[in-house]
Point group: C2
Chain length 338, copies 2
């Protein structure tokens, strides 16, 4: 009888962790956004809509495969964002918009919900995939945020791929800049301090949040900023707590929208705080931030989030948001409009 | 009888707002920090201790006078921080430490708890008082954060005073850089990614939080960063939510310490969130963040905070923090050690 009891103890001790691993395994999930704003069905051809959806599906699959193979959520985030950065469709990496002086200045951030370590770069110009630079800062430096040429210099310690500034030239983005500059000329009474946002109010940013089989959450965001931006403006994407946040205790969040409002609302961390301190679900917390707080401030945009159980939410208060998710149980959706 | 009743109504209607104003008036308050770290009595001569305390008293008085005269909390914050920035004693403005390549790069932020508007600059080199640049961004731009030469260009739209880079040269700071560079040379095994913080772990930053007679809270922070910093590193001071936050609903906060931890903990906003969502007092919330959360992460430093009722707290988990406060009721203290 004693022997059987001991055997049982060994068996249960040996089995429980494995069972828990399987449970976590079912819960792995990835969620993606490709920017929010005045994205209307009537302005998008069927062909272009398909292009967006196909690219989101491809990025999502890359992150999903990483997770399915037991990879880290951070690597899934980077794998998916790299594909979006390499596409001219999104305002990040190759598709980045132009600043007022005709340059591409990109920002990116990543946070590890397990260690609460974070890495961010702002105003980088020659890194092919800014999200890889953010990961480099997270993993290889004592710092969280690096800007400009200093960031580019540091990132040389990692195996990040560099690209000539000409790689980031996209005719469509260049034409957007010329159009806005013309409009601005006509609105010269606003002069030096005029709003510099897109007239069609598209907040191009890409972001990914992932939960891996080990139960670790990671969130990442990458952006080319605002067309015609001046004065070294930094938006919310590279600001930990504003555009990007992850914490295994609560959730991971990546935002897209009118960055200034997301900074003032500390939007990404606020979702986590509402869950931790008020006991809200990830859906309730994200809705509170996007549909109430940001909306009442005039802050247009949305966010994606995953909690530690794999629950996903993707609220936005604009006309549309490029978005999609895939879960370990096979559930999958890709959406653009409301 | 009717006449007396009407008269009473007029009297109470006329008196109540005035009474409320007097109540607010009694509650106005200002709190200041001049950095935290390994500040030990044995390392500070009586003369130097007096110099620090006198300068804090002078800055505090300037902010207090602004508040007493019915001025805005934002203007009190700027008035007080300008005096600390003009002193070589503190690592901000004139006393800013040197980067690895022998430059002074300063960051500052300010937030208005009434409107939740915020302004921040990072990596500026020729603005005499970086806090005035942050206020300029808050008041005159559509943006929250601007970095480098772009920020300096924008600030020319305001009446901010500029200074030649030679103005920021302080022999003491230069010697600190040479000493650290020597140490770093000896620790060459850490090489490119070595920690670049002061060996004596002083986190020089200045910050002020104020509550004015109208009941509006404002918070501001200004810093010269880390001695020998590289790669365009940005700390917590200019990050809204990390080093600086203000909200009339809850409190105003300015932090000082090992910035990376304050960013990852979203420290300043976390104090506000703990008050708003968990119902903690400003003392409880600040203690939770500084003495528990940051301490468990290894994040050394402290913060100052005022709530909407004028309650003040100044917790720190390091050996010392230059700090002081003055209240509308005349209460006043200036402290350095525990």
């Amino acid at each position: 009888m004693k022997k059987i009891f001991i055997l049982l103890v060994i068996l249960t001790n040996g089995l429980l962790p494995a069972q828990q691993k399987i449970q976590n395994g079912e819960n792995f999930a990835i969620v993606i956004h490709g920017g929010a704003g005045t994205i209307l069905k009537k302005n998008l051809t069927d062909e272009l809509e398909k292009e967006y959806k196909d690219k989101i599906a491809q990025a999502m699959q890359a992150g999903y495969d990483t997770l399915k193979n037991g990879g880290r959520s951070m690597d899934a985030v980077v794998a998916a964002i790299k594909i979006l950065e390499d596409s001219p469709l999104f305002n990040a990496g190759k598709g980045s918009v132009f600043t007022a002086d005709g340059k591409n200045e990109m920002d990116a951030a990543i946070m590890d919900g397990n260690t609460l370590k974070a890495g961010a770069v702002a105003g980088v110009r020659t890194i092919k995939n800014p999200i890889t630079a953010a990961l480099c800062v997270l993993e290889k430096s004592q710092h969280v945020m690096m800007v400009g040429s200093g960031a580019e210099k540091f990132v040389k310690t990692c195996s990040c791929e560099f690209a000539d500034t000409s790689y980031f030239f996209e005719q469509k983005r260049w034409d957007q800049l010329q159009k806005i500059k013309q409009t601005e000329k006509m609105e010269s009474d606003h002069g030096f301090v005029s709003p510099v946002e897109d007239k069609d109010k598209k907040f191009g940013t890409v972001g990914v949040v992932a939960l891996d089989k080990a139960g670790n959450i990671a969130a990442g965001t990458s952006t080319g900023g605002m067309t015609n931006k001046k004065f070294g403006r930094v938006g919310d994407a590279p600001i930990i707590g504003a555009g990007t946040y992850a914490n295994n205790k609560t959730c991971g969040v990546s935002c897209t929208g009118h960055g200034e409002y997301f900074i003032r609302a500390v939007a990404a961390y606020d979702v986590s705080a509402l869950m931790e301190y008020k006991g809200l679900s990830v859906e309730q917390a994200a809705a509170e931030v996007v549909m109430k707080k940001l909306k009442s401030m005039g802050g247009e945009g949305g966010l994606i989030a995953i909690d530690k159980k794999g629950n996903i939410t993707m609220p936005f208060n604009s006309a549309g948001m490029y978005r999609g998710y895939m879960k370990g149980n096979g559930k999958k959706e890709i959406l653009i409009f409301k």
